[in-house]
């Protein structure tokens, strides 16, 4: 059984402490909602888990994962930027990430199934340049389905999605959790899931002068 935990995690960027002392544990089938004000470091925490940033102190631990694969290789990161190429069609974008992240040849049928999960199958041949913000988001979400990985790191997953799409995303997340997956989502709103753990990040306060942290 897969389990992801953080011990006393801290991050410093540009000489400034973003957060410190973050602890959490998520096991298979559990979702963790990371909340906090704008600029609290939610995205930073997700990027830290994704291996795109180095922690200043503390450590991340993954137990029960697939053999030699690192944490980053078993995680999906759905960031603010959708990682889509405007020159490629919707299906080609999806098939590329399916092959690159999933390490298996993505058949057209598998691509269409993933597109169906986000109700984009009607636009498979359209260049991604013509998609709206919400449709781009849905195509990025289809990536999670096309290349199965146990840990989903979602940064504001519901941004730009309409109600029906949010419902579909919640269904996808539910079936991912039911299959023994882990979700860590930075969010301001409800995820539409039951029994979500919450992790609230409080950033240190910086006064105008000195940069010393005031006593709590």
């Amino acid at each position: 059984m897969i389990r992801l935990s953080a011990h006393d995690l801290g991050c410093v960027r540009g000489g400034r402490e973003v957060f410190e002392g973050v602890n959490f544990t998520v096991a298979a089938g559990e979702a963790l909602a990371v909340t906090g004000r704008n600029g609290a470091g939610k995205t930073t925490l997700l990027r830290l888990i994704a291996g795109l940033l180095e922690p200043a102190h503390g450590r991340l631990e993954l137990t029960g994962g697939a053999g030699e694969a690192t944490l980053a290789e078993q995680a999906h990161y759905l960031g603010h930027r959708d990682a889509l190429k405007p020159a490629l069609s919707v299906l080609e974008n999806l098939q590329f990430w399916g092959a690159y992240l999933g390490d298996k040849d993505a058949s057209i049928a598998a691509g269409l199934t993933a597109l169906e999960a986000v109700a984009l199958d009607g636009l498979a041949g359209l260049p991604a340049a013509y998609l709206s913000a919400g449709q781009r988001r849905r195509l990025a979400i289809a990536r999670l389905v096309a290349a199965p990985r146990p840990i989903w790191l979602l940064d504001e997953p519901t941004a730009a999605l309409d109600t029906a799409s949010q419902e579909r995303l919640a269904d996808l997340m539910r079936s991912h959790l039911a299959g023994g997956g882990i979700i860590v989502a930075a969010t301001h709103g409800p995820l539409g899931l039951d029994g979500v753990k919450e992790l609230r990040i409080e950033p240190p306060v910086y006064p105008l002068r000195g940069g010393e942290k005031p006593a709590p």
Binding site: Y77, Q95, Y100
Partner: protein, 222 residues
């Protein structure tokens, strides 16, 4: 192998679709080579004499043209983050991107040489030699340039910095490429000596380029 093939095909497809990479480089090459006779004058003997150097300089500048987009495009749309999270080693992924870039921008330059050589009144043997040296030398330009392209991403707004960083590193390639190409016209050195050194430079850059670029990209994470 599947991730590497996927990224190779994707990059080639994008370059062909937008029509930017391949065509713009060749057009730039054409413009540079066409302008030279206007600047130098209609002295056919002189043009024939410096033709290989002009073709090499033109190819060098043209191959730099599309290079700053090599990683910057992936960085801007967030693809680079996901590429870093792939199971394939970053060095190999970077090498696959370099190969795709060479096929779409370097190879067309080589194919354009027979046409542009005529503009400089080169004989078939000289054209063949220049094309051969460019075929061997342009991969080195791409793979040396990718280090600069990775630095441009890590340093941000580094697009203008790229030629300044990369051009000095390409000097050895230029020297041995031109001297190998010129043996066909003036001699007296045998073709083999500079050509083999050019081959060695290319092989070295094929190894060093991906490692240096991958290390730079990892350092430049934000």
């Amino acid at each position: 192998m599947i991730p590497l093939r996927a990224i190779l095909l994707r990059d080639m497809r994008i370059a062909v679709r937008i029509g930017g990479g391949a065509l713009i480089g060749v057009l730039f090459f054409l413009v540079v080579v066409t302008l030279m006779p206007f600047a130098i004058g209609p002295d056919l003997a002189l043009l024939r004499r410096i033709g290989p150097a002009i073709l090499w300089l033109g190819a060098l500048l043209a191959s730099l043209l599309a290079l700053d987009r090599l990683f910057a495009a992936d960085h801007e749309d967030g693809s680079l983050d996901l590429i870093l999270m792939g199971a394939a080693p970053l060095e190999l992924t970077v090498a696959a991107k370099g190969i795709a870039h060479w096929i779409t921008t370097g190879l067309p330059l080589v194919l354009a040489v027979p046409v542009l050589g005529l503009l400089l009144d080169l004989d078939p043997l000289a054209i063949g030699t220049v094309a051969l040296t460019l075929l061997v030398g342009t991969p080195a330009l791409t793979f040396i340039g990718m280090i600069g392209a990775a630095l441009a991403v890590a340093l941000r707004r580094g697009g203008l910095l790229l030629p300044v960083l990369v051009l000095p590193l390409t000097v050895p390639v230029l020297i041995f490429g031109v001297s190998a190409a010129e043996t066909a016209i003036i001699g007296p050195v045998t073709f083999g000596t500079p050509f083999l050194i050019l081959c060695a430079l290319t092989l070295m850059s094929l190894v060093i380029g991906p490692f240096a670029a991958a290390a730079t990209l990892r350092q430049g994470l934000d």
